[in-house]
Symmetry: C2
Subunit: 248 residues, 2 copies
């Protein structure tokens, strides 16, 4: 539909334009945006004008950034809304009790997508940011999500990424079985060497992960076991709040 | 660009398609979507296919809904992200102390756009939902935002909507002056007759509202004055967290 000579559609270009922004680059000049999105300059200028008119982009000084209208459209009927609404009070409970950053994430396109994050002043460094992505094999969240995925999802993932994971996880199947048995994943210092991630799945009635609830604690801390208890308690509450009673 | 015979562009249609979903209608069949978005069926089917391919829409049974990829693109570099990240711990504090639903909103397109909401089980009815819009003149949030808007924003608003507000607010200018003087807006039962909204602006260094922080309390409750204190304290914390020290 409406393809340019190069064969990509208006929508292809639109997605590349929106994708050019991220937490580290929240605003761009139109020419920088055109380069980053690999869209010809003239075409970028026309598309940006139209996006500004619809409020999907907004001007900020001489640059443009994502508009509030885009945020509104994407959030108003989002499939994440129910999950976040139900999870939030339980996340606050964990945040109050464990006193470390608390986050909620899902598996999406073979990566960990962070849906929500509650921060605490003074808690340890944490790389997760809302709507940010993290690698499955380097995070406790990813391993917990993988361990509690339906078999076809797990097998598909291993087929696509198993080789790449071999160095960090030489016996991944055994590791995942262990996570399924204990009900949580923890991973020491893969991303930040001073921290340990602890993650517990939010299960549906078939025992598959709808999401993962996690905290990051200081490495070697005696917080790990208590954090697992708090996370498991909260994760059960979220399942129940969603009308899903996990087995066991 | 890429206009159809009817003169609207791919982007016009895309925005109408995304706009067809809301919290009450999170999923639609493609034909219902085409009707609601006023897009010809054949064109809707083509556009939906492309949106599915990009993950901006997702299939759910025989219907489609907004995709996680759209949520990700819209949230990753959103201008609301900093505000929400800074505001969230303070919102939790208010939520813990006042024990009623707490919300954060901004003025957008002459309406109140709710950015975040923390709910409490057992708190009073509250119509606000995340990414939902509410009328300025029927909410304490709207009045607080208006009272602390820069003069051109306020005058523009009054020019466009002053007549419509006359019945509910016969002396709006005096009302807004009173809000500016006391530092908060409260409104009894305009939307739900059993509740009172209380709203306090989050101010920038020039004394203009960056956002509004609000709770909904039972009507006639003696919570109102304490809630104002809690909100003002939290709102100052948010301003400070954003590097804005409001005057006074």
């Amino acid at each position: 539909m409406a393809n340019s000579p190069s064969g990509d559609s208006v929508l292809d270009r639109l997605v590349r334009i929106l994708d050019a922004f991220d937490a580290g680059t929240p605003s761009l000049t139109v020419s920088a945006l055109a380069r980053r999105a690999n869209v010809p300059r003239a075409s970028a200028y026309r598309l940006v004008e139209e996006l500004l008119r619809h409020g999907l982009l907004a001007r900020e000084g001489g640059e443009v950034r994502l508009g509030l209208r885009l945020w509104e459209l994407a959030n108003r009927a989002s499939s994440t809304l129910d999950l976040k609404r139900v999870a939030m009070p339980f996340m606050e409970d964990v945040n109050q009790v464990v006193r470390q950053n608390t986050q909620l994430a899902v598996l999406h396109d073979d990566e960990v997508l962070v849906l929500e994050r509650l921060s605490r002043p003074g808690s340890v460094v944490n790389q997760a940011s809302v709507a940010g992505r993290m690698p499955v094999h380097l995070t406790s969240m990813g391993l917990a999500l993988l361990a509690f995925s339906p078999a076809p999802v797990l097998e598909g993932y291993l087929e696509r990424h198993g080789d790449r994971m071999r160095s960090s996880h030489p016996d991944l199947r055994r590791e995942l079985a262990h996570i399924r048995q204990t009900g949580y994943a923890s991973l020491e210092g893969f991303i930040d060497t001073d921290t340990t991630g602890v993650a517990v799945p939010v299960l549906d009635r078939r025992g598959h992960a709808l999401a993962v609830l996690a905290v990051v604690v200081p490495r070697g801390s005696d917080l790990l076991r208590p954090a697992v208890m708090a996370l498991r308690t909260a994760a059960r509450g979220i399942s129940r709040g969603l009308g899903e009673m996990p087995p066991g």
